[in-house]
């Protein structure tokens, strides 16, 4: 077996540059395949949406590739698809993100298209109406998807009164209410270089990657660019809140049980993720997978998920079950959550998950997109360029007591959100 001591990204092989207009560029070379990925985000998102026009940030981001001052829709995609390249843009709460890939010989083309759609979109009316019909059709499909409806319902309970309660892709009536001028105005006010981050990973020298980004985005500035608003505080649940959305004619129901979770920057984050692993991830779904799937055969999928970002996250158990088994599955899940916050994890369970977190690093950082996502996380959450080199040590340092404290901080069986979607 050969040695790959330096295969984890670190300060000696990550290039990080912030240029005068506020764009941070991250790059790392990988010449194992002649391909390259780009990823990144702008400092605007659905936090700027209003209740009446919820989905505006997302609609704007999807409109960018529909036409620019110099290219129409078919020309944009002809340039991309002819090169076997891909590019997409979409909005989250805090950011508008983009990702793309190409052969490394086509990186200038890919970056050129990215810069063009971010800076010079024209929102052509005919294309916007076509996109709106596609958007509405996808929302009609979303309304039929038990997992998606359960997830939206869960967020509405946990984040009641908070901007996170709104689905980023809005609702049919809000998407109908958005005018072409709203899209152009959103772009004018909120898109800009300040706070933009871009990572370039693959068969390209980092120095060349930085030069190419500077060339097409170095002169971008938007004096009007508005800062993201502060997040309002989240009011925690005071009791168990259950909501069921009926979707007729379906064979399976989706069930989500959980609560608000940590911020990514919370000091207990690694303890939280290790606890989550033991609860419903490790192997075929940790304790939850064992009880709901392996022992009782109630579900094909059952696991727990911890989502943590800039604001408060969520920590939830989800499963897809026969409609007749919803109550049974719900009880099993709540029993496991009770046991989890009562006794925490055993040192053996913790050690299993610690070993898994450290052991899986080479696999998660194998592909260019894996590395690009890792670099973007480092930047977004100020983790430090040496994060992946320090990570094993931080994981090993977590104790069962810390996991128990983390579990009790977020999960309280008397204050859970329960969302069900199905027939």
């Amino acid at each position: 077996m050969s040695k790959h001591q330096d295969s984890l990204p670190g300060p000696d092989d990550i290039t990080r540059v912030t240029i005068p207009n506020g764009i941070t560029i991250l790059a790392r070379a990988n010449f194992s395949s002649p391909s390259v990925v780009i990823g990144g985000h702008l400092a605007c998102g659905s936090l700027f949406d209003t209740d009446e026009k919820s989905g505006l940030a997302d609609f704007t981001s999807l409109s960018l590739m529909r036409g620019t001052e110099t290219r129409d829709f078919q020309q944009i995609f002809d340039a991309l698809e002819s090169a076997g390249a891909a590019l997409s843009v979409g909005a989250g709460a805090h950011n508008t993100g983009f990702s793309g890939r190409s052969l490394s010989e086509d990186l200038p083309l890919l970056l050129g298209l990215l810069a063009d759609v971010l800076r010079h979109p024209t929102f052509p009316a005919e294309q916007i109406e076509r996109l709106r019909a596609q958007f509405l059709s996808s929302l009609a499909q979303r309304a039929q998807d038990t997992a998606e409806v359960a997830s939206i319902t869960f967020d509405q309970i946990v984040f009641k009164g908070h901007p996170y309660s709104r689905p980023e892709d809005g609702w049919p009536e809000t998407i109908r209410a958005i005018q072409r001028d709203d899209l152009a105005a959103f772009h004018r006010q909120y898109y800009g270089a300040r706070g933009m981050v871009i990572a370039v990973v693959g068969a390209i020298e980092p120095k060349t990657a930085v030069e190419q980004v500077v060339e097409i985005l170095g002169d971008w500035s938007n004096a009007e660019q508005v800062e993201l608003p502060d997040l309002p505080p989240l009011r925690p649940l005071k009791k168990v809140v259950t909501r069921k959305v009926k979707i007729q004619g379906k064979s399976q129901s989706d069930l989500i049980v959980g609560a608000a979770g940590p911020h990514r920057k919370d000091p207990d984050y690694i303890a939280d993720t290790l606890g989550n692993s033991a609860l419903g991830q490790f192997g075929l779904g940790g304790r939850i997978g064992n009880v709901v799937r392996e022992k009782s055969g109630l579900a094909y999928y059952a696991s727990s998920t911890l989502n943590a970002g800039i604001g408060p996250g969520s920590w939830a158990v989800s499963a897809g079950v026969n409609p007749a088994n919803v109550q049974k599955a719900q009880k099993l899940i709540i029993d496991e959550i009770e046991r989890f916050v009562e006794d925490g994890v055993t040192s053996e369970e913790l050690e299993d998950s610690q070993s898994n977190f450290i052991g899986r690093m080479p696999l998660s950082l194998e592909s260019n997109s894996g590395v690009a996502n890792a670099l973007l996380n480092i930047e977004r959450y100020d983790l430090g360029l040496d994060y992946f080199r320090r990570y094993p040590e931080m994981v090993r340092a977590v104790t069962p007591e810390q996991v128990l404290a983390a579990a009790r901080k977020y999960l309280d069986p008397q204050r859970l959100a329960i969302a069900i979607a199905g027939p």
Binding site: M1, K3, S33, P34, A86, S137, K250, S251, N356, P362
Partner: protein, 430 residues
């Protein structure tokens, strides 16, 4: 092309393919069995997939719980897939931990327990998997189209199987299926990654050669007669959205026509990777059908699928109908576009564009050891690894005339099933 892999056959008939790749400290191993849903008679549909589930339920040496735990502790991933023609088991692990995966595969080739209780709990898990599929309109439509397309050939049922069989099959049925097909002379092991070929081969020999060969299991040989005309069918279900599934009988993976069909699909519905994970596809907004259907506001999205099967299967188009249009309007425009590609040869630039797209998709796939290892064995299931290695060259040899001929030969109305999903208008209510 210089040969960058090696092939070996053990005394018991197990074929081994090895490819050293030293870009990351990882190894990916795939064991492939020539058994899948096309080996299932009526009454046993879904048995291959259920057996695959039972392979995760332990052997005397590796009880279910410890299996899972050991691989996860080492930071590996393991999984399995059941297809119509094959079933495959994979582990990708840090190179110095790979031995565990190899020992596990050797062991579960013969020693899986199929414990009665585990069979009972997995029965409802698989039923739940099917219920999840049934929630998807395109699954319901695809299942109906598949069974209409294959009256004789055992490709006629879904891999997951029919509910009635999932309810009635016994532990003995499952175990019998396992013992019949899980033998070294019906399998291939393909390993790629950070190892030395001589060392890996010696270790595989040590682990797998003691397993005795068995009688070669026969495959159901029931070729589908040529269809006598177009089939049309409808499926009704919840929702507000209509879908079309237009499926043509298509050439097998190792048929020389397959290359022309691949390019044809790139032109009509957009380039897609052949990877079994389905990933790595590109957008298809400049494809002929996107321009004819989505840009003309008849549809809101579409895709094409052509699979590398052992026997001729289907070349399928899935189309999501625009809310203000009817499936009939979409089908008419679709047929006009098919006629256009049948009537006039495509431009040479369109072909070279499809080749470039395929080259890019290959490069993306090769970022990943797991994907590279998958092709070593996967290509052997319907052709040989050489098929994969020469694929781009063969595509480059496709001419505009080949594409026109393939369109004329396969995209005939008499050669297809048209399925329409009609929403019954039941809306979700909050």
């Amino acid at each position: 092309m210089k040969k960058n892999y090696s092939e070996h056959t053990l005394h018991n008939g197990l074929k081994i393919l090895l490819r050293e790749i030293h870009t990351a400290p990882l190894i990916s191993s795939w064991v492939w069995y020539r058994v899948g849903s096309r080996d299932e008679p009526s009454g046993r549909t879904g048995i291959s997939h259920w057996v695959e589930h039972m392979q995760f339920k332990g052997t005397p040496r590796f009880p279910a719980t410890s299996l899972d735990r050991d691989i996860s502790r080492d930071g590996g991933i393991w999984n399995a897939f059941t297809f119509m023609d094959w079933t495959t088991y994979l582990e990708t692990m840090p190179a110095d931990k790979m031995d565990l995966g190899l020992r596990l595969e050797a062991d579960r080739m013969t020693n899986s327990l199929f414990d009665e209780k585990e069979v009972a709990s997995e029965r409802t898990v698989v039923m739940s998997e099917r219920e999840g599929n049934e929630n998807e309109p395109l699954f319901l439509l695809g299942e109906a189209v598949q069974q209409a397309a294959f009256r004789v050939h055992p490709y006629h049922h879904e891999i997951i199987g029919d509910m009635v069989d999932l309810k009635s099959m016994s532990r003995e049925d499952l175990y019998q299926h396992y013992r019949t097909y899980y033998i070294p002379n019906n399998a291939i092991i393909a390993v790629a990654g950070d190892f030395k070929t001589s060392e890996m081969l010696a270790r595989l020999r040590e682990l797998f050669e003691p397993i005795p060969a068995g009688p070669v299991p026969p495959r159901l040989d029931r070729p589908e007669p040529a269809p006598a005309g177009e089939h049309r069918l409808t499926v009704e279900g919840p929702g507000e959205t209509s879908y079309l599934d237009i499926s043509y009988h298509a050439p097998a993976g190792n048929d020389p026509d397959f290359y022309a069909i691949s390019v044809l699909d790139s032109l009509l519905a957009g380039a897609s990777g052949l990877n079994i994970f389905g990933g790595g596809g590109l957008s298809n907004k400049t494809s002929r059908l996107y321009r004819a259907l989505v840009e003309k506001e008849l549809a809101v999205g579409l895709g094409g699928t052509v699979l590398t099967t052992v026997d001729p299967y289907l070349y399928s188009f899935n189309i999501t109908v625009h809310p203000e249009r009817t499936p009939e309007q979409v089908l008419k425009a679709f047929d006009d576009e098919v006629k256009r590609i049948q009537d006039a040869p495509v431009q040479a630039e369109e072909v070279s564009r499809a080749i470039k797209q395929a080259r890019a998709l290959f490069a993306y796939q090769s970022e990943n050891i797991t994907s590279q290892a998958s092709w070593l064995g996967h290509a052997e299931m319907f052709a040989s690894y050489d098929w994969f290695l020469t694929f781009l060259d063969k595509l480059a040899g496709v001419t505009p005339l080949d594409i026109q001929k393939a369109a004329q030969k396969y995209l005939r109305v008499q050669n297809r099933v048209v399925g329409t999903y009609i929403p019954n208008g039941m809306e979700a209510q909050a």
